[in-house]
């Protein structure tokens, strides 16, 4: 008899690679949804481990709200060039120009909700049957309920009451035409696991994750990067702060935290000591108690 005992990061990594290979084996046209954030960067690293020295059996797909941090876009383009993999970009601006969505107005306007439409259009246009994403169950209570293979109907909707049981490590990816599966290989990772993995793998990240000086305003009690994408008026006072971002989303809805952490060890220390959850810095979750659940039901990532 012999005993095996994988370290937790090795175990999480092996599970995620297994899931990525199941996607490759079970679907005709998968895609990896890439936002430029640390979770999707981790997914890309895991895809390298799952499929190299072969090519990825899927393209990377970025839904560009047009309100991204430039640093994220630069990072994305460098990464795609290094990998030699295909990138498909869906533009929210195009959905606006086509009249498929209407830009929100007012002080708290954000394109966050609009990207669902662009995402669903991009999925339909390319006929993707599986979309791999970097969501984690520890992020939010509705996500804690989600399967690793999460079936969405032809409208992209998630129905929490009609989820398939997910048993052992067997994933059922069979779907009807028009449906697609959202696949979450790092479901079982926590925010800290992702950071520890990034450190272990010596992965590079967009610079906004690290402390830097930036013009900010305070809105709804949160620090926001001052940018042309925010509807600012005379009441908004711009201050120069040393900040970093815990999540990377749209500039209009991702808040910064004041921080001195300019390297990964410091970030890990900071998160370990933090009393605020990662999603505490996302205004989009604060709309109501079921904000995330409602958005996911509507087809949100």
């Amino acid at each position: 008899m012999s005993k095996y005992n994988l370290d937790y990061l090795d175990e999480l990594e092996a599970e995620a690679i297994h899931i990525l290979r199941e996607v490759a084996g079970q679907f005709e046209k998968p895609a990896l949804l890439f936002s430029g954030g640390k979770d999707s960067i981790t997914l890309v690293r895991l895809a390298e481990k799952a499929f190299r020295p072969g090519k990825f059996p899927f393209p990377l797909v970025h839904i560009d709200t047009g309100h991204n941090f430039q640093e994220t876009i630069d990072y994305r383009d460098e990464m795609v060039a290094r990998l030699g993999e295909k990138l498909i970009v869906g533009y929210v601006q195009e959905s606006i120009d086509n009249g498929k969505v209407i830009e929100q107005k007012g002080k708290n306007a954000s394109r966050n909700a609009l990207q669902t439409v662009t995402l669903l259009d991009t999925i339909a246009q390319h006929g993707f049957d599986a979309c791999i994403g970097g969501a984690r169950r520890d992020e939010e209570k509705a996500r804690a309920k989600e399967r690793i293979f999460s079936v969405r109907d032809e409208f992209g909707q998630w129905d929490p009451k009609r989820q398939r049981p997910e048993l052992w490590n067997i994933y059922n990816g069979r779907i009807h035409k028009g449906e697609n599966v959202r696949v979450f290989p790092i479901s079982n990772w926590t925010e800290l696991d992702v950071w520890n993995y990034i450190r272990r793998e010596k992965m590079s990240l967009p610079s906004i994750y690290f402390a830097h000086h930036r013009d900010c305003i305070t809105r709804n009690g949160q620090l926001m990067a001052a940018s042309p994408f925010l509807n600012m008026d005379d009441a908004d006072i711009v201050t120069h702060r040393k900040v970093r971002f815990r999540t990377v989303g749209d500039m209009s809805c991702t808040a910064a935290v004041e921080s001195e952490a300019d390297q990964i060890d410091d970030i890990i220390d900071e998160i370990s000591a933090s009393k605020i959850s990662e999603r505490g810095a996302r205004l989009d979750d604060k709309v109501s108690e079921a904000a995330m659940e409602d958005r996911k039901k509507g087809g949100y990532f």
Binding site: M1, Y8, G25, K49, G54, A144, P160, R174, G280
Partner: protein, 416 residues
């Protein structure tokens, strides 16, 4: 540091969600903004304290009804270990969700209400734990505060449970008297029960051994994907990618490919850019063989000196998970790791009444029914018995009309 996966079972209102909430709360795993949201919630205990159960009830419908509908996964960590909790519903109509949570767990926590003792639900949940072969069981006798923290109550329930459990195949049972509401013996040892000499629940969870303990002979790796770059530089590269289900593979091991039966020898093991001499259960690897043989997704690589069972006719325990009853006249899909084949239910041997554990004759299988069947598969399966090798002894059934996962199968015997 390693990971312990556990799930909680118990009747509705036995306090499963409260217990998990208490574990998270007392280990400092709840952050300030989450705590603030809790305090703003309308759901409060009678004495005005926070209702910890809402931490796990993530869906609107769950919060409305105050019950858990679907499995929720929660994560926390102490200095000693990482934990993944599957919070599974206790309602009888959600047996399938409990089976889901139990299928990947190393340990089960079964809650017993100190006021009610061992009830039908306790038997049912214990049976499921035994059926799924979960290695460790902790019986948390909860709401001890409502029974005056009585040692006698604890002892009576413990004795009754042991009597019932004698009929089951449970391996390692531990009893802990707790109050999830008040926090007794969950994270902190209780001052109210000086007669209890054991550890707190958290202490136990932190120290119970969870290493995969499996015979090296059971080397099994289903092929998920063939890596074949076909570039000039890597013209002859042909790697078989998969996750090792059980056992270990070493360079120079003789391996057999099933179902073809062809053999070869392991030339190289790759884990991304590393080339270890050996890889073991749980690792996702790429194997290279000395000979070029026909291998594709759905095949399984096994140690040649210890072959699995091979058959198209298998006796299996079946848990039915769909609202639509089983139909033995139609063909289902069976997914066994990366292998997908068609199958039919040839015969229903019996159904288990999971409240009395009696076997009953039946001609139908409805939602949440569990029993034994004989299945006939279109292709031969290479499998092990569930008792010997869970990972290679389990499969799911899929209804091709709806694509839903409708059954969980645990292989119990070959039909000669």
């Amino acid at each position: 540091m390693n990971i312990l996966k556990f799930f909680t079972a118990g009747s509705v209102d036995d306090g499963k969600s409260t217990l998990i909430g208490r574990l998270l709360y007392d280990t400092g795993s709840i952050l300030a903004d989450q705590l603030e949201a809790l305090q703003q919630s309308n759901r409060k205990n009678d004495d005005g304290t926070i209702d910890l159960a809402i931490l796990t009830d993530g869906l609107r419908a769950e919060r409305e009804q105050g019950i858990t509908i679907d499995v929720a996964y929660k994560y926390f960590q102490t200095g000693k270990r990482k934990f993944i909790i599957a919070d599974t519903p206790g309602h009888i109509q959600y047996t399938r969700n409990m089976v889901t949570g139990a299928s990947t767990a190393n340990l089960a926590i079964i809650l017993v209400d100190a006021r009610n003792g061992v009830v039908e639900q306790t038997i049912r949940h214990s049976y499921l734990v035994s059926l799924l072969g979960v290695s460790h069981v902790v019986i948390c006798i909860n709401k001890m505060d409502m029974e005056g923290y009585s040692e006698e109550v604890f002892n009576t329930i413990t004795e009754n449970y042991k009597k019932m459990a004698a009929k089951l195949n449970l391996q390692d049972i531990t009893f802990i008297p707790v109050s999830a509401l008040k926090g007794d013996n969950i994270v902190h040892t209780s001052e109210h029960m000086p007669w209890y000499q054991g550890t707190s629940l958290l202490d136990f969870l932190e120290t119970v051994e969870v290493t995969v303990n499996q015979d090296l002979h059971y080397a099994r790796m289903p092929v998920q994907w063939v890596i074949r770059p076909q570039t000039e530089a890597l013209h002859d590269y042909r790697g078989y990618a998969g996750r090792i289900l059980s056992g270990a593979f070493k360079v120079n091991d003789k391996v057999t490919v099933l179902p073809s039966g062809n053999s070869s020898v392991i030339d190289r093991i790759e884990i991304f850019e590393q080339t270890p001499q050996e890889a073991t259960a749980g690792q996702s690897v790429t194997l290279h063989l000395k000979d070029n043989i026909d291998i594709s997704r759905g095949d399984v690589l096994v140690n040649s000196s210890y072959l699995p069972q091979r058959s198209q006719l298998i006796e299996a325990d079946l848990c039915w998970m769909d609202n639509k009853p089983m139909d033995d006249s139609i063909t289902y899909f069976l997914q066994h790791n990366s292998k997908l084949t068609k199958c039919k239910i040839r015969e229903i041997l019996h159904k288990v009444n999971i409240n009395t554990l009696e076997k009953e004759e039946t001609h139908e299988f409805k939602l949440n029914d569990i029993g034994r069947v004989v299945i006939k598969t279109a292709d031969e399966l290479a499998f092990d018995l569930y008792t010997e090798n869970k990972a290679n002894g389990s499969a799911i059934l899929i209804d091709g009309r709806t694509n839903l996962t409708v059954g969980a199968l645990m292989f119990r015997a070959i039909v000669e």
